[in-house]
Amino acid sequence: MFELLGIPPQALFGQLLLGLINGSFYALLSLGLAVIFGLLNIINFAHGAQYMMGAFLAWMLMTYFGIGYWWALLLVPIAVGASGVVIERLMISRLYHLDHLYGLLLTFGLALIIQGLFRNQYGVSGLPYTIPAELSGGTNLGFMFLPNYRGWVVLASLVVCLGTWFTIEKTKLGAYLRAATENPTLVGAFGINVPRMITLTYGFGVGLAALAGVLAAPIYSVNPNMGADLIIVVFAVVVIGGMGSILGAIVTGFGLGIIEGLTRVFYPEGSAVVIFVIMALVLLVKPAGLFGRTV
């Protein structure tokens, strides 16, 4: 082993990579929040709980039905997304004519219920979920030992994020979505079923959270509280990035992951608050957020 004199470049590369891995979760989650916010004008407080549900569902599929990771990656976002569709139809859709704060309060209540139910059923000690055989082991990159699974997380997250960005910014469907965000009445007049589009968008955003949950299950312990604290950090990410653009959510997510990773090396005690400090700075300098449209 080599001696540690300050921070050797190898270690720095390693930490940067780790930051990128965390950033992929931030990006996936803030992307889901941004998509939902864009069309529904609702901050989905239940996002963290839905991320947790994703991880739990993957664990349940494995434990009760013997269905493995790869199928979970496909099935879980669909299932959790479907539950999101039901929630949107039954509850959230009743609130569109009211102040947006009620949406926040409602989803906060939902988050409490979901977390409470899972806590009652499974306790909080955390349940094990093994890394799929295809991705176990690791690669020696020279400067660090990178577990294959973590590499996969970054890759998968990048692909999903860019795919979402492409769909929304470059396709016809995306054009409808953006138009409905600006003026739902007008888009409705063109014969597009706006309420259904809203419902499906919520389902999609929730599905993204669930996907992040499945990706997280093998790394972190599957635990009812796993989303609760994370979501507050993601809120800060969202405030920093501003809700203006999809790309903004992605870039901020990855960027803050890296910054947080670097803090862990240079000043570990501050790593929990660094994102909040950045948020305060951004609010001072650019209140609308880095990528936000100005007020």
């Binding site: 082993m1 080599f2 001696e3 540690l4 050797p8 270690a11 390693g14 930490q15 780790l18 930051g19 891995i21 965390n22 806590r119 009652n120 306790g123 909080v124 000690s125 955390g126 349940l127 094990p128 093994t130 890394i131 690791g138 660090m144 030992f145 577990p147 699974y149 973590r150 790394i219 972190y220 312990s221 635990n223 796993m226 604290d229 994370l230 990773g261 862990r264 090396v265 570990p268 005690e269 790593s271 929990a272």
Partner: protein
Amino acid sequence: MTFTRRLLLSAALIFATGPAFAETAVKIGVLNDRSGIYTDLSGEGSVIAARMAVEDFGAAAKGIKVEIISADHQNKPDIASSIARKWYDQDGVDLIVDVPTSSAAFAVSDITREKKKVFINSGAGSADLTGAKCSPNTIHWTYDTWALAKGTGGAMVAAGNKKWFFITADYAFGHSLEKDTAAVVKAAGGEVVGSVRHPFPGTDFSSYLLQAQSSGAQVIGLANAGGDTVNTIKQAAEFGITQAGQSLAGLLIFITDIHALGLKTAQGLVLTESFYWDLNDETRAWSARFAAQHGGKEPTMVHAGVYSGVLHYLKSVEATGGKDSAAVIASMKSMPTSDPLFGKGSVREDGRKIHDMYLFKVKAPAASKGPWDYYEKLATIPAAEAFRPIADGGCPLLK
């Protein structure tokens, strides 16, 4: 309070209560975590253990009526203190047992002292309960952080693992765990090459593990608890830390954590406990009875401590012929303890219960014969050495 005065007091009480002996009614409150991170190691199991102690003691036949109630303190000192206050003020509780999470234990200890009742702690770790923050009304039964540090730290250095790196949860409890263990390591001739503090609670420990790996330490001491420890161990397995030759030492980890991690991930981990269900015939027999009532789950040392503590309390109630707290505690401290789980022991003047501790190593999956067959005993730390010497604790009661 001097010993003679205490004797006089208890004597006076025996005379005063005298014939009422046959009608002593005792109310025991089991206060622990029933929904959070320590549910498995305390929770309903502690209620079962307390009930078994009442049965085995034969309380009913001896004219002592025992009622057991329980509540969830959610590991929060504010909830623990308000429940304890209500129990003593309104519900007539005489004894509170268990109380994992040191912060909650301190809260209950303070209130117990104010209300002049009895508190037998089994679940919490902080050695301060019988040190700087000791109380005449608190007995710390099962283990403490000093004993765990002594067991794990001392034994690993003795085995030649001299260079340590700590991954510490950045709050009071983590700091004290690190400090105690570092002191033991240095005293045994080891060396601390570095440490890193992570936010509490944390989710991603890979960054700290990487720092630990590049430090060149032989042992990575995990000065954290609960979910943090479990996650650190999991991620250490993922990054191939143990395969690369470094050992992990859990400074506060229980058999239920090993159960949750699975042997594949936890194998090779070294830890200290005061009880293991598979120690001898007596512990096996007791644990079989316990498991039958607890859905097949084996007891933790915390459950065993609740059993042993309640048993000793009831013996003292019988001996003093009443439930006056001062008299009962005086009797508990003067009478040697004896039960099938911890063998023979004693309760010190500062409230520390003394017994053997054991150093265990987690088995490899191939070596395990089935569920709950997890530990291989490496060493027994005799009672006399296992706990912090009474003079070093700085307990203000000892004057």
